[in-house]
């Protein structure tokens, strides 16, 4: 399997551990990542707020880059996934397409709309397949109760993203079970992490993050795992602020999606960048009892 790798900004910067873990897991599963130094930021939803058509055009350019190479695009961020697939949907509107073409054609860029945008979660669960992943598990995550945290833009708006059920998704939980972990179901798993207003309304953002972490904990989670590095910033890097906002300690380790996969496939915590987290993951990793197979 060969995919155009779209790491997004955060995984190239403060969330580098996500990029490390993605590369490790893709190597282990035989997914070839083709890199394009020409990709720009997806706009992260903020450019969309400031100028919708500009945001669509920037992503049409990104999509056209993969299209020219005849590849589908692999994202590792719920927001990148949402913004790039939303561009595909909005370009179905002839008026939007005409304005975007007007900006891209003079640059020799053609968007045809044949490139699919695929998040790593869905590549792992639908294309690599749970059986193939199960077969590669060398360290089942038995004993570890993990609350998946999907990230809004992987799920919603469901009709425009053609995502799995926005309210009852199950791909991440099925993957966690295939890795030997026990998935924890809680309301917060499909809720918002607060990140979009982290710098706009910090106290509100942290309260929202705190609510989701509390909910995961109340349902028995030892750790959370997210396919979105922006959620990771809210839940991990700003967890101390969330604790302040809800008025009690939280101490919830939060994994990136490929880190939980990598752990089960035999990677070391260092190879997955776990020491870079703000909330230590060591206690959660120590809970793994290799002999227990879910």
């Amino acid at each position: 399997m060969k995919l155009a790798y779209y790491p997004g900004c955060v995984a190239q910067e403060s969330g580098k551990e996500l990029d490390m873990a993605t590369r490790w897991v893709c190597r282990a599963l035989g997914i070839e990542l083709v890199e394009f130094p020409t990709f720009s930021c997806c706009g992260s939803g903020f450019v969309d707020e400031a100028n919708e058509v500009l945001n669509v055009a920037l992503n049409a350019r990104n999509l056209a880059i993969a299209e020219r190479a005849g590849l589908d695009l692999l994202t590792i961020c719920s927001t990148c996934q949402g913004m790039l697939s939303l561009a595909n949907t909005r370009l179905g509107d002839a008026r939007v397409k005409a304005r975007v073409d007007g900006a891209l054609k003079p640059l020799g860029i053609e968007y045809r709309g044949t490139t699919k945008v695929k998040h790593l979660l869905h590549v792992l669960t639908k294309e690599v397949g749970l059986d193939a992943i199960r077969a590669k598990v060398v360290r089942p995550l038995g004993g570890l109760k993990v609350g998946a945290f999907y990230g809004c833009h992987l799920l919603r708006p469901s009709d425009e993203l053609l995502s799995e059920s926005a309210e009852e998704p199950k791909s991440f939980e099925e993957l966690l079970a295939a890795l030997g972990a026990t998935p924890v179901y809680y309301r917060g798993r499909v809720m918002c992490c607060g990140f979009p207003i982290q710098f706009v309304k910090p106290a509100v953002a942290s309260t929202i993050a705190g609510h989701q972490i509390d909910d995961a904990r109340a349902h028995g989670a030892d750790a959370m795992a997210t396919p979105c590095p922006l959620c990771h910033i809210s839940l991990d890097a700003y967890q101390n602020q969330a604790a302040k906002a809800v008025g009690h300690p939280l101490d919830m380790p939060v994994f990136h999606l490929p880190q939980v996969v990598g752990l089960a496939l035999g990677a070391t915590p260092e190879e997955l960048g776990l020491p870079r987290h703000l909330v230590p993951t060591t206690a959660a990793v120590a809970k793994i009892r290799p002999s227990v197979r879910a």
């Binding site: 900004c9 955060v10 190239q12 910067e13 403060s14 969330g15 580098k16 130094p37 020409t38 990709f39 720009s40 930021c41 706009g43 992260s44 939803g45 903020f46 450019v47 969309d48 707020e49 400031a50 100028n51 919708e52 500009l54 055009a57 920037l58 350019r61 975007v100 007007g102 900006a103 891209l104 003079p106 640059l107 860029i109 809004c152 919603r156 708006p157 469901s158 926005a166 309210e167 309301r187 809720m191 918002c192 607060g194 979009p196 207003i197 710098f199 706009v200 309304k201 509100v204 953002a205 309260t207 929202i208 609510h211 890097a237 101390n240 602020q241 020491p275 870079r276 987290h277 703000l278």
Partner: protein, 324 residues
């Protein structure tokens, strides 16, 4: 063909704040056709098992918006939520009152906070007194003018969106999705004369708390798509007022930030949004993160083809329309 029957288990939230020390869940099990709406099941429970069960409903046809409640944690109209799929997904049906509004009794909430936010947007046409609408005459609109409303006129004010909104949950001063979707409806109404004033009035604390999580759009039974209309309001507000709020500064700052290199320069964005005072208030947190993730101060190298990005901005980002 007789419809398939399911044995449905309901765990229904019961609470009388004046009497009960704490809320409880009462369990009822009924054999019902799988397409039975949750509302019909609740009315059977009330009629046949427990007449004290308190709920609000009226039309039973998804028109009046009275029976919004939480079904297995989703804010929904009970009258159009069939029990079959809920049983298949969850093995039981947990019925709770809407969130973000205080419970009066059982499934009935006090909607005062919701309506207060609605009042705040002045939900009526504001006309120019010097140029009143001619009495007894209609104001024709072009198809394009009607299209601009989107689905916002279909809103039945059921409050499912308000119940689903995490921003309302964390900040009750936020107007919430319904009030903002209604605001949009007046801002695009060609008869209204207060468009810009409406945008200016709602901005302080009103618009930029929206997380664009789209939970409201998912909850809305009428496809009003509040989150997308709030997005439209944000772009309009930037055009009217420029980047004056932390939220609009963040959006415009982000847009300008990636124009420079094609990728985000993380630490610079904090400066763009929060100014020096904001950077100072974030300093301790920044140092904490920097120790583990020194890349937060890294300036990313420009992408290859940054000139293409610049040309796209030149073609589509008119500085008069929200650029800086």
């Amino acid at each position: 063909m007789p419809e398939e029957t399911v044995s449905a288990t309901f765990d229904v939230y019961r609470y009388d704040p004046g009497k009960d020390p704490a809320p409880r869940y009462d369990r009822y099990t009924l054999d019902l056709p799988r397409h039975t709406p949750v509302l019909s099941a609740l009315l059977r429970i009330r009629g046949e098992i427990d007449p004290s069960l308190t709920l609000r409903y009226s039309c039973r046809s998804a028109i009046c918006g009275s029976c919004a409640m939480q079904v297995n944690s989703k804010s929904r109209l009970a009258c159009e939520t069939p029990i079959g799929p809920e049983m298949e997904r969850h093995g039981r049906i947990v019925v709770e009152p809407m969130r973000n509004q205080p419970v009066l009794r059982d499934l009935v909430v006090n909607q005062a906070p919701f309506w207060r936010q609605y009042d705040r947007i002045e939900p009526h046409l504001i006309l120019d007194p010097r140029n009143p609408m001619p009495e007894g005459k209609e104001t024709p609109m072009t198809p394009e003018q009607v299209e601009a409303f989107g689905e916002t006129p279909r809103c039945i004010a059921c409050a499912a969106c308000y119940s689903a909104c995490p921003a309302v949950e964390a900040d009750p001063t936020f107007p919430g999705p319904m009030a903002l979707a209604k605001l949009f409806r007046f801002v695009v109404d060609p008869r209204d004369t207060a468009h810009d004033a409406r945008l200016l009035a709602i901005q302080p604390g009103g618009l930029w708390t929206c997380l664009r999580c789209h939970l409201c759009t998912e909850a809305c039974p009428k496809d009003v798509r509040p989150s997308e209309r709030i997005r439209d309001l944000k772009e309009m507000a930037i055009r009217v007022q420029g980047a004056t709020e932390a939220g609009s500064r963040h959006a415009v700052g982000f847009k300008e930030n990636i124009r420079e290199r094609g990728l985000l320069h993380e630490s610079k964005l904090v400066r763009q949004t929060s100014g020096l005072a904001g950077v100072a208030s974030q300093f301790g947190q920044g140092v904490r993160i920097y120790r583990k993730k020194p890349e937060i101060l890294k300036r990313p190298p420009p992408i290859e083809g940054r000139d293409e990005v610049e040309k796209i901005y030149e073609a589509l980002d008119d500085p008069k329309e929200g650029g800086t």
